[in-house]
């Protein structure tokens, strides 16, 4: 085929992803010493199949109980916070690069979701949300009869 397989391209490296990463990095550099989370934090990856979607986010060092996940139709909202380390008197930072504060992120999914069956797992600093596609939203297969 003339077009290179997109999957192959992904493996080589997505240039947009790289741009996005650079953008974040620049934001970080110019945002000063103490860093509240950027608007687009956390970065999300979205995987889809016929029956469900999986959203993953890198959220190291978050209290899982403080994470709020809500789903309405095809919208997923995610919020939480990370508290900075509290220093005692006489202690001082040499470097402070890690972000902290509250974050909220909302994304639109490619289909409606069955909100009752959404599952979320937080492990090793990675949040993974499994969102099953709503029954009524699933495509109906139409059989073609031959006469």
């Amino acid at each position: 085929m003339f077009w290179p397989a997109f999957r192959e391209m992904r493996r080589i490296g997505n240039p947009w992803l790289e741009m996005e990463r650079l953008h974040r990095e620049m934001d970080r550099l110019f945002s000063g010493a103490s860093l509240p989370f950027a608007q687009n934090f956390p970065a999300l990856n979205l995987w889809t199949s016929e029956n469900d979607a999986i959203v993953t986010a890198e959220l190291p060092g978050i209290d899982a109980d403080g994470l709020e996940i809500s789903v309405l139709d095809d919208t997923l909202a995610l919020s939480g916070s990370r508290t900075p380390e509290e220093l005692k008197e006489g202690e001082s930072y040499h470097r402070q690069e890690r972000g902290h504060g509250r974050f909220t992120r909302t994304i639109t999914l490619p289909f409606k979701v069955n909100a009752d069956k959404v599952e979320a797992v937080y492990e090793r600093g990675i949040l993974r949300i499994t969102l099953p596609r709503a029954e009524e939203d699933k495509p109906k297969k139409i059989k073609v009869k031959s006469e």
Binding site: W47, E58, P60, E91, Y93, H94, R95, R98
Partner: protein, 135 residues
């Protein structure tokens, strides 16, 4: 950012490119770190999402402290990626320590993808209070 002490400095040469190459062709990211100093130790906190106690390595060689993490890359079978805002790769970052760190007593803990290293200061380096006498 005010650097109040020179006890920990980033090892030159590692912030741009890694000097030695890994055999695996994976991207290498610099983990973000917080470093602060207490009266008897230096504490280093690094964000390394996806890493657990088995996939993080810490080496100290001639005063160069190197953190390496290799999170497992997930391949979700039967799924297509629809939105990709972040990529997964290895983490690597090196710092040069002063002689005042007691390399034998470094303590490392990983929890929720955050590595916390406590680097105790060697005995003579601990702060001593000096009394000033009035003449």
């Amino acid at each position: 950012m005010a650097v109040t002490s020179k006890e920990i400095q980033e090892y030159p040469g590692t912030s741009q490119a890694v000097e030695t190459e890994a055999t695996r062709n994976r991207k290498i990211y610099l983990p973000r770190v917080d470093i602060f100093e207490t009266s008897d130790a230096i504490v280093l906190i690094a964000d390394m999402p996806g890493v657990d106690e088995n996939s993080v390595t810490i080496t100290l060689e001639r005063n160069v402290l190197t953190l390496t993490g290799s999170p497992a890359i997930e391949h979700l079978k039967g799924y297509e990626i629809a939105l990709a805002e972040y990529d997964v790769g290895d983490y690597q970052r090196s710092f040069s320590l002063s002689d005042e760190i007691d390399g034998e007593k470094i303590d490392a803990v990983v929890k929720n993808g955050v590595l916390r290293l406590t680097l105790p200061k060697a005995e003579p380096a601990k702060a001593r209070k000096i009394n000033v006498k009035a003449a």
